[in-house]
């Protein structure tokens, strides 16, 4: 089985970093308007590396909410990371030490998880560090740029940059669906349920974080029922 190193990680992380740069740029422009100072935002992005959680966190901060409320909100919105971390444990190279696991865990985001978990072969510590590097820089730098220079980028360009991260997702989804009918089924089931949960008014109490958890878990379960995976086949 092939293993990958730091350089391959950096290369795979480049599109994520570019996507993060544009997304965090927008995040910072929005957060400054909520009254949060630029330096606080940079520290926030550098220490959290998460989008939905930070938007929710800034909302609670700006409203002067309780620390308990903040902790609970983060727990619920970011619960999906726990699921992703469990999935990643199944693909870690045996050379991973406890400290390396603890360090690599900092970089578990939706995008880094998606790229690393769909990579063929086992994940090495250098690969994970390389993969996390540019997204972290992009996320933190984009926040700084947005906080202090948000007005400088042409509006049409910053609007178009909003699709970069989704273009990258498509580059993972489409080839995956071409190769594996189970993957295709998982995508369609998750998207269909996600649309129902987002647009049928009865479910409007569900936050975006819960919609992602519910639709993804159900979509994956449907595909796993129809096409289970025997140990050794499939990469998970």
């Amino acid at each position: 089985m092939e293993a990958y190193g730091y350089k391959e990680g950096l290369r795979d992380g480049l599109p994520i970093g570019l996507g993060y740069l544009s997304v965090s740029f927008g995040f910072a422009i929005w957060a400054v308007k909520q009254g949060i100072p630029g330096l606080t935002l940079i520290l926030l992005s550098g220490s959290n590396l998460t989008s939905a959680g930070q938007v929710a966190g800034v909302t609670v901060m700006a409203a002067g909410g309780l620390l308990v409320e903040l902790a609970l909100t983060e727990l619920i919105i970011n619960l999906r990371y726990a699921l992703m971390s469990v999935t990643l444990t199944q693909k870690l190279h045996p050379s991973f030490t406890l400290w390396q696991r603890m360090l690599a865990a900092f970089f578990v985001t939706d995008e880094i998880f998606a790229v690393s978990s769909t990579r063929k072969g086992l994940l090495t510590f250098p690969y994970m560090m390389g993969l996390g590097c540019l997204p972290w820089i992009g996320w933190t730098l984009g926040t700084a740029l947005g906080a202090f220079a948000g007005a400088l980028l042409p509006a049409a360009l910053s609007a178009a940059l909003g699709i970069a991260i989704y273009g990258m997702f498509m580059a993972i989804l489409v080839p995956g669906a071409l190769e594996d009918r189970g993957v295709l089924l998982a995508i369609f089931a998750a998207v269909a349920l996600g649309l129902i949960l987002r647009y049928v008014p009865v479910f409007s109490f569900l936050s975006e974080g819960f919609v992602i958890i519910l639709s993804a878990v159900c979509g994956a379960c449907v595909a796993a029922l129809v096409r289970p995976v025997r140990a050794g086949e499939g990469e998970a």
Partner: protein, 102 residues
């Protein structure tokens, strides 16, 4: 406003959620259904995050659809992540420039 306690709580909670399972879950899963769930999970997560969000990602549906179609086409051709991401952005950008002229 004293924001640093908030910063600390957010960073700590977010990190622990990621770290505890990754550091301490050591079993090898062999159940075919569970293996299937873990195998399909990343695609299901990405799918539900991409649709419908991609269609509002540029703030305007026509440029977003243009970007989506370009990404779909290049995805079918198995192009790299960065190529697809940049081509979708370029398609959305050009469309948003051309659209007002039509």
């Amino acid at each position: 406003m004293k924001l640093y306690p908030y910063l600390l709580v957010m960073a700590l909670v977010t990190y622990l959620i990621r770290m505890l399972p990754l550091a301490f879950f050591r079993r090898k899963i062999t159940n075919p259904f569970l293996l299937g769930v873990l195998h399909y999970m990343p695609y299901a997560v990405l799918g539900t995050m991409t649709v419908p969000a991609i269609f509002t990602s540029t703030g305007e549906p026509v440029s977003a659809v243009a970007g989506f179609l370009v990404a779909l086409l290049l995805g079918l051709k198995r192009r790299s992540l960065i190529e697809v991401a940049l081509a979708a952005t370029a398609a959305a950008y050009v469309t948003s420039l051309v659209l007002p002229l039509l």
